[in-house]
C-alpha cells in the first residue's frame, strides 16, 4: 500500500512520441525538482501565484544533462490540488527523466493515482472519479500483465534469486533472535553472514549500474501473430514490416521459432507507436517432432503479448483466447483467395474479423489502425516504463538497506551482537525487492525458520 502523502511522478502523454510531459505532484514536488536542477526561485514567495515557466537544465545520472522547460503549478492552481512541476521533454528520454526524479525523492505513481489525488482534493467530480475508477481497474490488468512479463524477464529472475537469498539469511538471523533458547538453532556465524551480505551487495550494485546504462527490460509492447500452421502469418509479418524478414512458403510449419522485430505502427491520426511484432510458428500437430518446444514458445509469447493477432486462412476459425476483448484481434489472411465458407465444418467467428491480403494490400491499413488503438490503450498505463523506474528504485533501496545490515555487522567478530539491526536492514531490502517480484512477509520468514529448525519445547 502506498501513502497518499508521498510525492509521485509519472509520464503523461505518449512516451514513444516526439514530446511528452513528466509530472511530479506532492508537497515535496518543488524540492524534488530543485534537486533535478530547476531553479529554486521559481516557487519562492514573490514568484507569480499562477504558473511559472522556466528554462531548466536537468541532470540525468549517467546520461549528462538535458535542456528543457519546467512548469511550476502551485497547489492552488494545479490539476491534482497539490504542488506540481511539469517537465516538457523529448519522448525518448522520458523514462530516464522519470528515473532521475525517483532518485531525487519522488515515487513512481500507481495507476490512476494522479486522478485519485485530484479527486481527494476536490478537483474531480464524483462522476469523473468513477470513470477514473473504471479505468484503473482496466489499466491495472495491463499493469499486472506487464509486471508479470518483467518478473519473467532477466531482472525479475535476479530479484527472485536475491529475495530467496535474503529470506534464508533473514530466517537464520531471526531464528537466532526468537528461538535462542532452542538447542537446535545454531545462529549463523557473523563472518558467513558478512560474506553473504557483501556478495549480495555487489550483485545489487551491478544490477543498478546496468539499469542506468542499458535497456535491461524491454518496455515496448508486443504484437503477436498466432494461428494454425500455414495461416499466412509470416507473409503478414513481412507485409506489416514492409520488408521480407521471415521466410515465406506455402508449406505448413515453415516457421519454427519466434521472430521479433521492432515495428512502428501507424495509427488513425498518423501517430506512430513503437512496438515489437512477433511472428510465431503455427500450433504443431501431434506427430511433429518439435511439438513440445514449439508449443512452449507459443505459450510464452501469448502470455507476454499486449495484442494478439489471431490469424486464420480464408474462412477457418481463428485460434484466439477470447478471454480479453480488445486484446485479441481476429484476422483473416489471404483475403484475395476469397472466402471458403464451411470448410472443415468450421463456423465463422462471431466477431467480424479484419480481412487482409498481403498480396493486394487490402485491409492492412485497417489492421494497423485497430492495433494502434489497442496499443494506445495499453500505453496509457505506461506500465512497463513505470515498472522500470520502480525496479531501479527498489534496487537502490535494497542496496542501502543491505549496507545498513553490513554496518550493523561490522563490529562483530564472532557472534552477532546486534541481530535486530542486521534483521532490520535485511527486512527492508526484502520489502524493497518485493515490489518487483512479489512481496514476502514475516510469515514467510517464520515459515523458513520452522522448515529449517525443530523449534518449540
Amino acid at each position: 500500500m502506498h501513502g497518499i502523502a508521498d510525492t509521485i511522478a509519472a509520464i503523461s502523454g505518449d512516451a514513444a512520441g516526439v514530446r511528452c510531459v513528466v509530472r511530479v505532484s506532492g508537497s515535496a514536488a518543488c524540492e524534488v525538482a530543485s534537486r533535478m536542477g530547476m531553479g529554486g526561485d521559481i516557487a519562492r514567495a514573490g514568484a507569480p501565484p499562477g504558473r511559472g515557466v522556466r528554462p531548466t537544465t536537468l541532470h540525468l545520472p549517467g546520461r549528462g544533462s538535458l535542456r528543457t522547460l519546467a512548469v511550476w503549478l502551485p497547489a492552488s492552481n494545479s490539476a491534482t490540488g497539490e504542488d506540481t512541476v511539469e517537465f516538457l521533454v523529448p519522448g525518448g528520454v522520458a523514462s530516464a527523466v522519470l528515473e532521475a526524479l525517483c532518485g531525487c525523492g519522488a515515487r513512481p505513481a500507481e495507476a490512476g493515482e494522479f486522478s485519485m489525488r485530484a479527486f481527494l482534493n476536490g478537483r474531480l467530480s464524483l462522476e469523473e472519479a468513477e470513470g477514473v475508477a473504471a479505468t484503473i481497474s482496466a489499466v491495472d490488468d495491463d499493469g499486472l500483465r506487464a509486471a508479470r512479463r518483467l518478473r519473467e524477464g532477466r531482472l525479475g529472475r535476479l530479484c527472485d534469486g536475491w529475495q530467496r537469498d535474503i529470506l534464508s539469511m533473514l530466517a537464520l538471523v531471526e531464528a537466532g533472535i526468537d528461538f535462542t533458547d532452542e538447542e537446535d538453532v545454531v545462529p549463523i556465524a557473523a563472518g558467513d553472514l558478512r560474506e553473504r551480505c557483501d556478495a549480495l551487495g555487489l550483485q545489487l550494485e551491478a544490477a543498478a549500474e546496468g539499469c542506468h546504462t542499458k535497456e535491461v527490460v524491454t518496455g515496448a509492447p508486443r504484437v503477436v501473430l498466432c494461428g494454425t500452421p500455414n495461416a499466412g502469418k509470416s507473409t503478414l509479418f513481412n507485409a506489416l514490416l514492409g520488408r521480407r524478414r521471415a521466410v515465406e512458403a506455402d508449406v505448413a510449419g515453415t516457421t519454427r521459432d519466434a521472430l521479433v522485430e521492432r515495428w512502428r505502427v501507424r495509427g488513425a491520426a498518423g501517430s506512430l507507436i513503437e512496438c515489437e511484432l512477433v511472428d510465431l510458428p503455427g500450433v504443431p500437430g501431434d506427430g511433429d517432432p518439435f511439438r513440445n518446444p514449439v508449443r512452449a514458445v507459443i505459450e510464452r509469447e501469448i502470455k507476454g503479448a499486449t495484442v494478439i493477432l489471431a490469424c486464420a486462412r480464408g474462412g477457418s476459425a481463428a485460434a484466439a483466447d477470447g478471454t480479453r476483448p480488445g486484446r485479441v484481434i481476429s484476422v483473416v489472411t489471404c483475403a484475395d483467395l476469397g472466402i471458403i465458407d464451411g470448410e472443415d465444418g468450421v463456423e465463422q467467428p462471431a466477431v467480424a474479423a479484419i480481412r487482409v491480403s498481403a498480396k493486394t494490400g487490402e485491409g492492412l491499413d485497417t489492421l494497423c489502425v485497430t492495433v494502434a488503438a489497442s496499443l494506445a490503450r495499453w500505453q496509457g498505463s505506461h506500465a512497463a516504463v513505470v515498472s522500470r523506474a520502480r525496479h531501479l528504485r527498489a534496487i537502490q533501496v535494497a542496496i542501502q538497506s543491505v549496507e545498513d545490515a553490513q554496518r550493523a555487522l561490522s563490529t562483530d567478530i564472532r557472534a552477532i551482537h546486534q541481530p535486530e539491526l542486521v534483521a532490520e536492514g535485511l527486512r527492508r531490502a526484502l520489502d524493497a525487492l518485493g515490489s518487483v517480484s512479489g512481496r514476502l512477509t514475516g510469515d514467510d520468514v517464520l515459515g523458513e525458520v520452522f522448515s529449517r529448525f525443530c523449534v518449540g519445547k
Binding site: 484503473i136 538447542e183 532490520e424 525443530c454 519445547k457
Partner: protein, 681 residues
C-alpha cells in the same frame, strides 16, 4: 409509563483464565474511572481455578515478554502476579540488543492462580459467579444478556485465603472456592426452572480450550478443557446458531513427573538471574511481602535441569506412531502448531535428529510436580512412561499426570474487529484462545483490550484500538483480523515490523498515558509510571554530549552512567534512556515512513459499505473484503487478495455512497436513536 433502566451498566466476562481475569480487571477499572456504579460480573465454571496455568507454569519469553510488559503498562494483572510468584527469573537474549530481550519467569503454579484471585478479590464490587453459560440473548444484532444454567451463585472471596496469600512462606489456598467461600444468589436476573438470564450491556467471552474441549491420551478420550475439569458444551452451539463460523484447533501438554523420583545429580542445571529483574513496574510498590522482608524476589528461587531424549526414545515413538491420536485420525483438528510441536511431531518432521533437549522444571515450592518441558505428547500412557524413562535422570521417574492433547472449538478471527468485538453481534467481544491464539500472554493481552472495549461500549465511549507501530497487542490484533491462521497464533518478535520501537523498556511510555486517559490504568500503575518518567528525566538531564556519542557504540557499558561523580541513578531508568538513544535513528525513520502512510492507514471503511456494490472491484477483492470486513484502509491493504488499485476504487465508491447517504441523514439519525441503549424492567 416510565420504565427503569437497568440499575447500572453491566459487563459480563465469561471465563476466568488469563484473558478473562485481565478483561475483568480492565472492565472494572474503566467502570470505576467513569465514576458510575458500573457492574462487572465474571462467570466461570469453577472459581477456584481462576488464573490457572494449564500448561507450562511460566510467563514471558521472546515477544511474549513484551506482551506482558504492555499488559502491565495498561494496569494489568499478569506482570505483578508473575513477580509475586516467580521461582526462576531469566531475561532471554541478554547478549543481544534491548529490543529483542525477553523477560521470562517460571512461577509457582498454585501460588500464581491464587495471586490472580487475590488481585481480583481486591477489586471492590467485582462479582465472581460459579456457573455454566448456556446461551446468549441477542436482539437486532446486539447482545442483551447471557443465559446461565440454574444454580449459578455469586462466590465471595474467602478472607482467610486472602490473608494467607499475603505471606510468601505459606502454601496458598484458593481465594474463591465453592464450599469454603460464602455464596449468594445472583441479583438482577430473570430465572425460570432451569435457566437464569443476566442482562448486560457487553460481554467478553474467553472460553480458552473449554468449548467442546476433548482431551486425548492414546485411545483414551475425555471431555474437558484441562486435566480434571469439565468442558463448556453449550456455548459452541449457541455461537453456531448465531451464525458464527467455528474451527477446531489442537494443542498439547507433557507429562508431569515426581520430583523425588528423579536423579538430579548428573544433570546440567539452569539458575535464575542474579539479581532477577521484576516484570512489573509496580512490583516494588505493591507486592505483599513477608513482614520485615521487603525484598524481591518474594519466593525462594529454584533450579531447573536439562535432560534429553535419545535414539531409543525416538525408536519407541516411531514404533507407536499408529497409536498417536494426531496420526491415527482420532483428532479432528488438522494441525498442531509448528513452533510448539509434540515429541511425535518432532520425531516425524526432523527424522535425522537422534536427540531433543528436555527441560525439567519444578512447578512450585509446595508441590513435588515437575513439568517435563519438551515432550508434549498424546501417546498412550505405556509409551509415555517408557519414553520418559529413556531420558538421563528419569530412569525411575514416577509420572503424576500423563501428557495429553486437547482439541477445542474456536471462532475464526476474521469474524472479530481489532477491538475484539464481533462483526455479527455487537457488544459481544472474544478474547484469548477462542480467537485462535495460544499462550497465556497472548490471551492476557487480548483480555485487557476486550475488557477495556466492553466497558467503553457499556459506557457509550469510543472503542480503543492499538496500531502496529504502537504495541505488540496492535500487531497481534491486526494479524488476527487480516490473516487466516493455519495454526494457533503465537507472538514472535519477528512479527513486529516496528520491533526496534516496541520494546520492554518503553512499554509504559508507549501505552500508559493513553491507558490512563481512557480509564484502564489504575492509580498504582499511574504512580509507578510517573515515578519512572521522573527518573528517566533525571538521567536525560545528566547526559553529556560525549556520553550521548559513546552510547551508540555497542560495547558501551551502562554501569559507567549509573554511578558517576557521586550521583546514583536508577539503573532501570538509565538503561531505558540509553536504549531509546541507541535505537532513535531507526525508530525515527520508521515513524517518518509510518506518518506518510497514516492517513491511508487510519481512513475508516464504514460497516455499511458493501464491497459487492462497488463497480470495478475485482471478484477476489470483493470476496476477501466481505469475509474480513476491514475497519480501515490499512487493514484492507494487508489482506491477501486486495491490491492498491482495489483500494483506490473502494475509496471513490466510498465518497459516492457517503454523498448519497448525506441526503438520508435525518433517517439515519432517527435510526440511531431507535437503537440507542435499551430501557428495560
Amino acid at each position: 409509563m416510565q420504565r427503569a433502566a437497568h440499575a447500572s451498566p453491566t459487563v459480563v466476562i465469561i471465563g476466568g483464565g488469563h484473558a478473562g481475569a485481565e478483561a475483568a480487571r480492565a472492565a472494572w477499572q474503566v467502570m470505576r474511572g467513569a465514576g458510575q456504579c458500573g457492574r462487572v460480573v465474571l462467570v466461570t465454571l469453577d472459581p477456584s481455578k481462576i488464573g490457572s496455568m494449564s500448561c507450562n507454569p511460566a510467563n514471558g519469553g521472546l515477544g511474549k515478554g513484551q506482551l506482558v510488559r504492555e499488559v502491565d503498562a495498561l494496569g494489568g494483572i499478569m506482570g505483578l502476579a508473575t513477580d509475586a510468584t516467580g521461582i526462576m527469573f531469566k531475561v532471554l537474549n541478554t547478549r543481544k540488543g534491548a529490543a529483542v530481550r525477553g523477560p521470562r519467569a517460571q512461577c509457582d503454579r498454585e501460588a500464581y492462580a491464587v495471586e490472580v484471585q487475590r488481585q481480583l478479590a481486591a477489586l471492590d464490587g467485582l462479582e465472581v459467579v460459579a456457573g455454566e453459560v448456556t446461551g446468549f440473548e441477542v436482539e437486532a444484532g446486539r447482545l442483551r444478556g447471557i443465559r446461565l444454567a440454574a444454580g449459578a451463585v455469586v462466590v465471595a472471596a474467602d478472607p482467610r485465603a486472602v490473608e494467607r496469600a499475603q505471606d510468601p512462606c505459606l502454601r496458598p489456598q484458593p481465594v474463591f472456592a465453592l464450599g469454603v467461600s460464602a455464596v449468594r444468589a445472583l441479583s438482577g436476573t430473570e430465572s425460570s426452572r432451569d435457566e437464569i438470564v443476566l442482562a448486560c450491556d457487553a460481554c467478553v467471552l474467553t472460553s480458552g480450550t473449554f468449548m467442546r474441549g476433548l482431551m486425548h491420551t492414546g485411545p483414551e478420550r475425555s471431555h474437558g478443557g484441562r486435566a480434571g475439569e469439565g468442558a463448556a458444551g453449550a456455548i459452541s452451539g449457541a455461537l453456531r446458531s448465531m451464525g458464527f463460523e467455528l474451527g477446531r484447533l489442537k494443542t498439547g501438554t507433557p507429562p508431569r513427573l515426581r520430583r523425588d523420583s528423579l536423579d538430579w545429580s548428573g544433570l546440567e542445571l539452569q539458575r535464575s538471574d542474579d539479581p532477577p529483574v521484576p516484570m512489573s513496574d509496580r512490583s516494588p510498590l505493591c507486592l505483599p511481602f513477608a513482614a520485615g522482608a521487603q525484598r524481591f524476589p518474594r519466593l525462594a528461587q529454584v533450579d531447573c535441569a536439562i535432560t534429553r531424549t535419545s535414539a531409543e526414545s525416538h525408536d519407541l515413538i516411531r514404533a507407536n506412531l499408529h497409536r498417536a491420536p494426531m496420526y491415527c485420525g482420532q483428532i479432528e483438528a488438522d494441525c498442531g502448531p509448528r513452533y510448539c510441536p509434540s515429541i511425535e511431531d518432532k520425531v516425524v518432521r526432523f527424522a535425522d535428529r537422534t536427540s531433543h533437549q528436555v527441560f525439567l522444571e519444578p512447578e512450585g515450592l509446595h508441590t513435588d510436580r515437575v513439568y517435563c518441558n519438551g515432550i508434549s505428547t498424546s501417546l498412550p500412557i505405556d509409551v509415555q512412561e517408557r519414553i520418559v524413562r529413556t531420558m538421563p535422570g528419569c530412569e525411575r521417574a514416577e509420572i503424576l499426570q500423563w501428557g495429553y492433547a486437547v482439541e477445542y472449538d474456536m471462532v475464526w478471527p476474521h469474524q472479530i474487529r481489532a477491538t475484539c468485538e464481533t462483526h455479527l453481534v455487537s457488544r459481544l467481544f472474544l478474547a484469548g484462545q477462542i480467537n485462535g491464539t495460544t499462550g497465556y500472554e497472548e490471551a492476557a493481552a487480548q483480555g485487557v483490550l476486550a475488557g477495556w472495549n466492553a466497558a467503553s461500549a457499556a459506557l457509550a465511549q469510543e472503542p480503543v484500538t492499538l496500531a502496529r507501530d504502537q504495541a505488540y497487542i496492535g500487531v497481534m490484533m491486526d494479524d488476527l483480523v487480516t490473516k487466516t491462521p493455519r495454526e494457533p497464533y503465537r507472538m514472535f518478535t519477528s512479527r513486529a515490523e516496528h520491533r526496534l520501537h516496541l520494546r520492554c523498556d518503553n512499554a509504559g511510555v508507549r501505552l500508559t498515558t493513553l491507558g490512563r486517559e481512557r480509564g484502564v490504568v489504575g492509580d498504582e500503575a499511574w504512580m509507578a509510571h510517573e515515578r519512572g518518567e521522573r527518573e528517566r528525566a533525571r538521567v536525560r538531564a545528566s547526559l553529556t554530549p560525549a556520553l550521548r556519542a559513546a552510547v551508540m557504540r555497542p560495547e558501551f557499558d551502562v554501569s559507567t552512567v549509573v554511578s558517576r561523580d557521586g550521583i546514583e541513578l536508577d539503573r532501570q531508568a538509565v538503561e531505558a534512556v540509553l536504549t531509546a538513544l541507541r535505537y532513535e535513528p531507526y525508530v525515527l525513520r520508521g515513524q517518518g515512513e509510518a506518518s506518510l502512510m497514516r492517513e491511508q492507514e487510519q481512513a475508516s471503511i464504514p460497516a455499511w459499505l458493501d464491497p459487492a456494490t462497488v463497480t470495478g472491484l475485482r471478484g477476489e477483492a470483493v470476496e476477501v473484503l466481505r469475509k474480513h470486513r476491514p475497519a480501515t484502509f490499512g487493514q484492507a491493504g494487508r489482506l491477501s487478495g486486495v491490491n492498491p488499485a482495489d483500494l483506490s476504487i473502494l475509496r471513490v465508491a466510498l465518497h459516492r455512497q457517503r454523498a448519497s447517504r448525506v441526503s438520508d441523514a435525518s433517517c439515519v439519525s432517527r435510526a440511531s436513536r431507535a437503537s440507542a441503549p435499551d430501557v428495560r424492567q
